[in-house]
Amino acid sequence: MQRTNTLHIKTPEGITFSLLLAGPVARFLAWVIDFACILVIMMALNIGVQVTQIVSFDFAQAAAILSYFLVSIGYGILCEWYYKGQTVGKRLMSVRVMDIQGLRLQFNQIVIRNLLRFIDSIPVCYLVGGLSCLLSPKSQRLGDLAANTIVTRESKIPRPDLEQILPHKYNSLRDHPHLVARLRQRISPREANIAIQALLRRNELDPLSRLDLFARIAAHFKKIISYPHEVIDGITEEQFVRNVVDALVRR
């Protein structure tokens, strides 16, 4: 099976959406943060244990042993159950454990993937789990394989600001419907996206780079189709690109 960083899921409604898989580095950093969290919890519990030593040293020692064991095993299980697939480290690194079919995680899946850390963590520093992650097509460690889970990247995608791309201005291209039709036919999605991204980010560019970038995009579009003079004369390269994008995405 081919290795991929994207998992495509088809819903019963017939819609396909994709989930970005988290890489080993993000997962390792999340684990480091979680390890630090476990240490902090243990330090806090130790303070409690010190207090109970006044009553019984034996009881305090037993409580320390049991609490370390329960925290080290239970931390991942409880966090992933409560936060629906996330621990503190995973939240900070914007990764999430999900069912391989994109469904809600079941408690037994969480338990199995966490208990199989025993084998993923051997011989040191999650070597087995890391290798499995690198070799498996969906970046799964052994615990993920057994529990049918994946770890996805959880980057929040902001709502795009369409008004910035399409101000309601006169577009000389629209006087020539055959050109609009030809543009839609010949300009690829990738090319259109480059133009949209350039328009979206235009204010982040310095003036010279902005002029240069739009000149190059305009030159490329002008190579694809020949335009009558009245369409391109008297407008800037940036306005020309804006008109092309407008023609591509509006009626």
Partner: protein, 338 residues
């Protein structure tokens, strides 16, 4: 196919924003339960956004909006769709007295295999120690088992009558035993991922140690001490480790999938709840065994008569066999054996 993107977004963006806010609320409060009208609205928003995503898919130029809608649909999908059967409200008593023994019986072949490998190891350990006394230092890596059994029994009985060796340390010792044995058991289970090879090795080695200790004490004429010492906690602890081996073999069986026409994912999905049941059950057994070992097993005659300890251990073993053999049997659903 959308022709007028601007109009489409103007019409749809309020629904996307509403779905986004519902998802944010669910994220902030994972235990939040929606009422029926909220659920209906959520479902409607999900379907409307999915439909929007389908339309944007046809529009080649707009990747940003597609990515945004995919992210919304992906999050909502996990909340809306759950095709697997929801288990009824969890009842600890029902789980312990019905589900746990039923699960052990359901995978009886894996249990017998684990028991057989332990027994085989026991026999090999016993034979090795009977043939060659020197093998003791290799087979038994524990210093307290290296001494002559008769000397040890004499020492334990003499010092035990004078002072309590574990005074002020019983709870600590008990906690250590619980966590150590649980770790070993979880590791035995996890090694099932090596197609069961690791589980076989661990069970066999455990059996070898047990056999070597048992025959060492038997040859020294200290069988009564041995039974009094091991039976009270071993009657529960050893079966718990065999259950860990059983869980490891169930996992290995699902990985290998001999003669089963269902997919790898489906096999693992099927056994997952059963594995968790076995592991939680054996963890409880090891808690009990840890308490018995620290507070009872380590006290020998004349403090506690051997007969009392052996009877206690034998009763535990009988109760355990009856528990796994019959508990929850009347409510058992017919299912495929492993």
């Amino acid at each position: 196919m959308i022709i007028d993107l601007q109009r489409f977004i103007d019409e749809e963006k309020k629904y996307w924003a509403e779905l986004e806010s519902v998802l944010d609320r669910l994220e902030r409060d994972p235990l939040k339960k929606m009422n029926l009208s909220e659920l209906k609205r959520f479902h409607y928003l999900y379907q409307r956004t999915s439909s929007g995503l389908a339309r944007v898919m046809g529009l080649s130029a707009e990747t940003e909006i597609r990515r945004y809608l995919e992210s919304l649909v992906g999050h909502a999908y996990a909340e809306v769709h759950e095709l697997r059967e929801k288990s009824r409200r969890f009842s600890p008593l029902r789980w312990f007295f019905e589900v746990f023994p039923q699960t052990v019986r359901q995978h009886m072949r894996a249990f017998i295999l684990a028991l057989g490998i332990t027994a085989f190891g026991f026999a090999i350990g016993g034979v090795a120690i009977s043939i060659d006394k020197e093998a003791k230092s290799i087979i038994l890596p524990f210093s307290h088992l290296q001494v002559d059994p008769s000397e040890r029994v004499a020492y334990e009985e003499k010092t035990g009558a004078i002072k309590d060796r574990l005074a002020g340390k019983k709870a600590t010792f008990s906690a250590f035993l619980m966590t150590h044995n649980t770790r070993v058991s979880l590791f035995t289970f996890a090694m099932g991922f090596t197609w069961g090879i690791g589980t076989v090795i661990l069970l066999f080695y455990n059996g070898v140690i047990l056999g070597a200790v048992a025959l060492d004490f038997f040859h020294a004429g200290q069988s009564t001490f041995l039974l009094g010492w091991l039976l009270p906690h071993g009657a529960i602890e050893i079966p718990a480790i065999i259950l860990a081996g059983q869980a490891g073999f169930v996992l290995a069986g699902a990985l290998i999938g001999w003669g089963r026409r269902i997919s790898f994912k489906k096999r693992l999905r099927t056994v997952a709840p059963e594995l968790v049941t076995l592991l939680c059950g054996l963890a409880l057994m090891l808690v009990w065994a840890g308490i018995v070992e620290a507070f009872f097993s380590q006290y020998h005659a004349p403090v506690i008569p051997y007969d009392a300890k052996i009877i206690f251990g034998a009763m535990e073993l009988i109760a355990l066999i009856l528990f796994f053999g019959f508990s929850g049997k009347s409510k058992e659903r017919p299912h495929a054996k492993d």
